[in-house]
Amino acid sequence: MGLGFCLAGTVFAPISYFIISSVPLAAIGISTIVIGFVCIALANTRPYVSPEACQLILKTGMENTSALLEELGIRNKAVYLPSTVSNGHQKALIPLVENKEIQIVKGKIPDRLIVRYGINPDDMAIAVTTPGSININMLETKPGPTSGEIEAAATYILMGVLDIATSVAVKLTDNRVDIDVSGSRLHYEDIWYYRCLGSPIASIVAAISSEALQKPIRISEESYNRGKSSIVLEVLS
């Protein structure tokens, strides 16, 4: 399409200017050439891997993690940790003990599946990589601990890079982050994986918030209503 616009504009503009002697038509020809170049430039930015292949890989990872969680009978909500606590890689911890709440994470988390995060014998958790963990590396700079910077980072990832939302609004209070995502294309589903780790969008915003605030974050609430996802994050000390 871009090539067609460029060719049409290249033929139309000189004919309009020199033969028909119409400046407005020549200007339309020039605009057509510009739009053609833009279409060609954007066409070359299509991803190398098809969306179907990406979905295949995403679902495979989710189902494997889901199978692991179901086998261990883990229902606790994950705690997203900043990358400084987990050897430079953003991770989420899911406590192994039922109804165990992670409030304090002592020291650095080792790069293993089952990790100890505290001094008590039952302070054991599964450390998993989430969609949020992978996407945090796409940020050019680390966001600061303000709602504006978290919103800018979430907007960049969700709208600019992934194009899975139309707007993001972030409200930050002392120990709570409220996020509203409009036009989200990956919704929350009541499945085991999402109950523990949150939907992909909640996972991404939790990872960004954790990295920005340099504190552990838990997804305490997630709902979807009339095209808008409302996510409430709890900031743990």
Partner: protein, 85 residues
Amino acid sequence: MRIHNKYIVSLVITSCVINALLVFFGQDNIEIYYTVNITTYLAVTLLYICPNPRAKIALNPVGTVLFAGFILTGVFKAMNILSVR
């Protein structure tokens, strides 16, 4: 609608409106049309400041070439004015 599609639609609609307005006001200078259209393109591109990083890299040469043409137009105009004086 995807962000890239929104960007192209915005560019097309803005170009059409700008060109229609210039025709309505009886503008007959091709340099004015070119300058206004380039400014429109740069403004719309700037408004969509969150595209895919690869899209940003792909659009940079387009913007550079068009801006260079804008500068050249200005230079020729200045030379015309100076030579008339």
